[in-house]
Symmetry: C2
Subunit: 109 residues, 2 copies
DNA sequence: TTTGAATTGTAAATTATTTACAATAATTGT
DNA sequence: ACAATTATTGTAAATAATTTACAATTCAAA
């Protein structure tokens, strides 16, 4: 029996492999989220989000999780939350999410 | 009845909204896929993949589809395919995939 | 109206990418 | 073996994009 090509399995399910490896520069994050690069740096300075930057002076890289965070924070700001309140809510939500996904991930490997 | 937050629904299903908007620079694509930037440009010159670059001279931007293409092509090269053969196979696979996903997408809207 | 929060502006230095021309391997047919 | 084609890689100069740092501005609440 022949082994199915990898792509067929991934096509209609959540592409974990991809999102785990995903890294995006600040310009593209801005393009994706509609948040100005200046604002992204400000949020990072405040410690609300984090980048994967290895050394100081090098360009920032963001992972899927932090991009999702930014999108949520932006939505909450539009709804009237303060930045700190939005950041706190998003932080809590991600902690719950990671708890749930953590259990799931352990089953797989 | 209160509306559920968006994130809850997206967490365990395929994040279409995100992947549709996703754009990534060549440096990050290289980091994600393990393919050298030089090689990515070469493949693009040959017409095997395409970038979203608006004007000549500006930096290349790649979408999810083309990044997936690169990953598949790389895998097929490792298996012994020639570049052209791999490109052709990948092209065919994506045509089928888009046919299937196209039908699905129409239902949603 | 003062205070702090949130954002925005910008210049100079640095990092990353682009294009173009060229060189080098690897493979295939004769 | 040899030439031709395929695939990849090297690099320099120009340009694009990002970084940091200092500063200004806007806005809401007290």
């Amino acid at each position: 029996m022949q082994k199915k090509p990898v792509a067929d399995n991934q096509a209609l399910s959540f592409d974990y492999d991809f999102l785990e490896k995903l890294v995006v520069g600040i310009g593209e994050v801005s393009q994706i989220t509609g948040i100005a690069t200046r604002q992204i740096r400000y949020w990072e300075d405040k410690g609300i989000i984090t980048s994967l930057t290895e050394e100081e002076g090098k360009n920032r890289r963001y992972d899927y999780k932090n991009i999702k965070k930014m999108i949520l924070i932006k939505e909450m700001l539009d709804e009237g939350y303060t930045l700190d309140a939005a950041a706190e809510k998003v932080k809590q939500r991600f902690e719950l999410l990671e708890q749930a996904l953590g259990k799931f991930a352990k089953k797989k490997k």
